[in-house]
Symmetry: D2
Subunit: 139 residues, 4 copies
C-alpha cells in the first residue's frame, strides 16, 4: 500500500453539509476518497493542458459499417498508428451502427492528433477524445 | 463569519505532494482554501446540470459594431429580457471589434435560452456562457 | 445510402480560408464532411444536456488492481448494472495499473448515475464519462 | 463589409432537417449564419488550446464583500496586472454577495495564470475563465 498522510481541512459547516449530500448521491463511502478524487481529477486536467506529458486517451466513435470501405480504412488507420493505439473495443449498436473505443497512449499532443484524424474520417458520425492518466504517476 | 468545522483527510503522501505543488503554482496560501474551492466548483457544476435552480450566468460575446443595426438589435434584445439581464460591460477591442459581457440571473434553463438567442444574432462573431452561483447558497 | 441534399453557405472569404486550413490539419478530405461533423457534434452536445434521450456513454477509468477486492467490486458493480453496461475493455498499463472502458447504453441521466457511482468506488484513481449517439437517429 | 464567398455542402436530408430544427430553436434566421458560428467556435476552441496566441478572456467570480480586506486584495490584484486586466463589471447579488467580471487580454497562457491566481484568493467562492477572440483575426 502507498504511504499515507493525514491533513486537516477547515471548512464552513454549511459547505461541508452540501458536500456530504453530494458525495452520498454519488455513492462515496467516505469524504477522504471524495477529496482524493477531486484532487486527482484536477491533476489530470492540468496535465492534459500540456502537450508533452505521457497520458492515455480513449477515442470513442460511432460509424455505419455499411459505408463502403470504411471498416478497411479504420483498420488500416489503426495499424498505421500501432505504436500508439494499444487496444480497441467494438460494439454492435444495431444492424448498421457500430461504436468503437480505441485506447491510445503517448504524449497528449500526439493523442489529440490521432483522435482528430480518426474523427475526421468520412463515415465516422461522431467521436470524442477523453484524456486520462497512465496511473504510474498518480497514487 | 460563517460557522466553521474541521475534518481530516487521509491521503497518499505522494498525491498530497503533487497537490501542494499544483496549488502553490495557482497561488493558494493554504490547502483548506484549495479544497474548499474544489468542493464549491463541484457543487456549481452539478447545479448547472439541472435546469430549475437559480443561478447567475455571464454571456461573453464579441461583435463588429460596424455591422448595420447590430448595436440596436443587441440593445433591443437586452431590454426585451430586462428581468433577467441585470448588467452589461462593453470593451472596445479595436476600431471595429467590441466585447460585451452580460450578467444574467434566473433558472439555468432560461439563462441558456437567452445566451443561445444572443449568440445566434447575425454579426455576433463568438459567444460563450459561464454559469456560476448566486452566492446565497454557497458559503 | 442516405438521401442527400445540397445547400449553399455564404461566408467571409477570410473565414473560409481559416476553416480550410484547420480541416486540412485535422485530415478532412472535403468541407462537406467537416461541416457535417460540426453539425453532428452540436446535435450530440444538445442531446446530452437532456436527461431523457437514449444515448451511449463510455466510462474510462484507471485503477490499481492490487487494491484489495477492487477487481471483485468492479465486476460485481458491472453485473448489477448488466442491463445498461453492454461491454468492457481492459488494458494493462503497467504491473499495477489497469485502464478499463465500459460501454453503457440508456437514458443520459441513468448513464451519468452509473458513471458517478463507478468513478466513486474507492481505488478508482480517475474516471471520465463521454456521451455519444446510438447512431440510429444520426445519419 | 468583408469579402464574401459561397460554397456548397452536401448532406443527408435527415441530418439537415435536424440541424434546421436545432437552429430554429436557437433563434438563427438562416443556415449560413449558424454554419459560420460553428466554424468560428471551432477556430476559437483550437486557438485556446495553444498558450501563445493573443486572446481575450473574461473571468467571472463571486465573493462575499464582508470578508475582511477582500475588496482591497482584489483591487490591488487587478492593479498589479493592469497591463492585462482592461475592465471590470461589478454586480451586487444580495446584501453580501458580489459578482465581478474582469476582461483580460494577452497570451492565453498568461490569461490562465491571472485567472488561476484570482480564483485562488481566499474568499472568492467560485470563479471561471472564458476564452474568446480579440475579433481582429475572425471575420
Amino acid at each position: 500500500m502507498a504511504d499515507l498522510t493525514r491533513f486537516g481541512v477547515s471548512i464552513q459547516t454549511r459547505l461541508l453539509e452540501q458536500f456530504d449530500q453530494l458525495i452520498a448521491q454519488k455513492g462515496y463511502v467516505n469524504r477522504s476518497e471524495a477529496i482524493r478524487d477531486l484532487i486527482r481529477g484536477e491533476l489530470v486536467d492540468v496535465a492534459a493542458e500540456h502537450d508533452e506529458g505521457e497520458m492515455v486517451g480513449t477515442v470513442t466513435f460511432v460509424y455505419n459499417h455499411h459505408v463502403r470501405q470504411l471498416t478497411d480504412i479504420l483498420t488500416e488507420f489503426q495499424h498505421q498508428n500501432y505504436g500508439a493505439v494499444i487496444a480497441s473495443l467494438h460494439v454492435h449498436l444495431d444492424a448498421e451502427n457500430c461504436l468503437e473505443v480505441l485506447v491510445v497512449r503517448g504524449k497528449s499532443g500526439e493523442i489529440r492528433r490521432i483522435a482528430d484524424k480518426l474523427i475526421g474520417i468520412k463515415g465516422v458520425k461522431h467521436g470524442k477524445l477523453t484524456l486520462t492518466t497512465t496511473g504510474s504517476d498518480l497514487t
